[in-house]
């Protein structure tokens, strides 16, 4: 794993993988969204508002999965002090916050016609809002120190503490009596969803997941190159300083 986490190796591998991941993201997301918007059936109770699901569910999945990725990078950073894990964690934060905001906004747009309210202080909604604040806290904390390494350490600790929120999000609909519906798709049971709705959801979820990966890969590539630029400029400035 350390071999693949070498910055040069990472640039080579990510450069080869990125065009394919980006193309896959574009194609699968387009198929999922067009299918969901024009060809999937409307719900007998919710009408066409159910089509918001093809955006909302992938965004919700990626809000949690992105945070898990952030926590894994933070653990790698704290245990092995690997600079690439630090850079990846810093770059995952804003993307995860963006997808969490998308989840909250589309949930609100779905809640208004379905529940009659833009927002309720329901356990699921509130725990996802807490996740959004954790992302914002991480973004602010890693940039709050003059010494970037101290910022990475503080951000990593915050990210690991915040992991406790992920099972709360997952099980909030079981532990509390919530307005938000329970999970329709689980790992253990058959999905309680009409198959004509399940396929476009699978395409959009896979497409958005690839898009998330492509964005994080591209941002991390840029961060590695920017760090190299800073290193070269500092080395050049040091070599031009007159000897005391």
């Amino acid at each position: 794993m350390h071999r693949f986490a070498n910055p040069g190796q990472f640039l080579r591998l990510s450069g080869a993988v990125l065009p394919w991941v980006s193309a896959g993201a574009l194609v699968l997301t387009a198929i999922g969204l067009v299918w969901g918007l024009f060809f999937a059936p409307a719900d007998w109770q919710q009408g066409d508002a159910v089509r918001i699901m093809y955006i909302h569910v992938p965004a919700a999945w990626l809000a949690s999965a992105g945070y898990m990725a952030l926590a894994v990078c933070s653990a790698l950073s704290l245990v092995w002090r690997h600079p690439l894990a630090d850079l990846a964690a810093v770059e995952i934060g804003p993307v995860g916050a963006g997808f969490t905001a998308m989840c909250l906004a589309t949930g609100s747009l779905w809640g208004k016609p379905t529940w009659g309210a833009w927002w309720v202080w329901d356990a699921r909604l509130t725990s996802v809002l807490v996740l959004f604040f954790l992302y914002l806290g991480h973004i602010a904390l890693v940039r709050a120190f003059d010494d970037p390494v101290r910022g990475y350490r503080a951000g990593a600790i915050l990210a690991l503490v915040g992991v406790v929120n992920l099972p709360i999000i997952k099980f909030s609909v079981d532990w509390w009596n919530t307005l938000h519906q329970p999970d329709t798709i689980t790992l253990t049971g058959a999905p309680s969803m009409y198959i004509a709705m399940l396929w476009p959801l699978a395409f959009s979820t896979l497409g958005y997941s690839l898009a998330f990966a492509a964005i994080v890969l591209a941002r991390t590539r840029a961060a590695v190159m920017e760090r190299r630029i800073r290193g070269l400029l500092m080395a050049r400035a040091a070599s031009q300083e007159p000897a005391p």
Binding site: L11, L33, A42, Y54, H56, G98, M102, A222, I229, L233
Partner: protein
């Protein structure tokens, strides 16, 4: 289509937010690559197969 404004707003967010992130990320990569090539001759496109493909170590 019922609830059209809500569906349209959701799809607009679902396209614009990831597209914005993607565009910003790819512009940032391009800018970093150009800047690196300007200050590091080894990272320039004609600098040999290993560095041309891999960029930097």
């Amino acid at each position: 289509m019922t609830n059209l404004p809500y569906v349209a707003a959701s799809y607009a967010l679902g396209v614009l937010i990831p597209a914005g992130f993607a565009l910003a990320a790819f512009l940032r990569v391009g800018a970093a690559r150009r800047r690196l090539a300007a200050i590091d001759p080894r990272a320039r496109p004609g600098a040999g197969p290993r560095l041309r493909r891999g960029g930097v170590r």
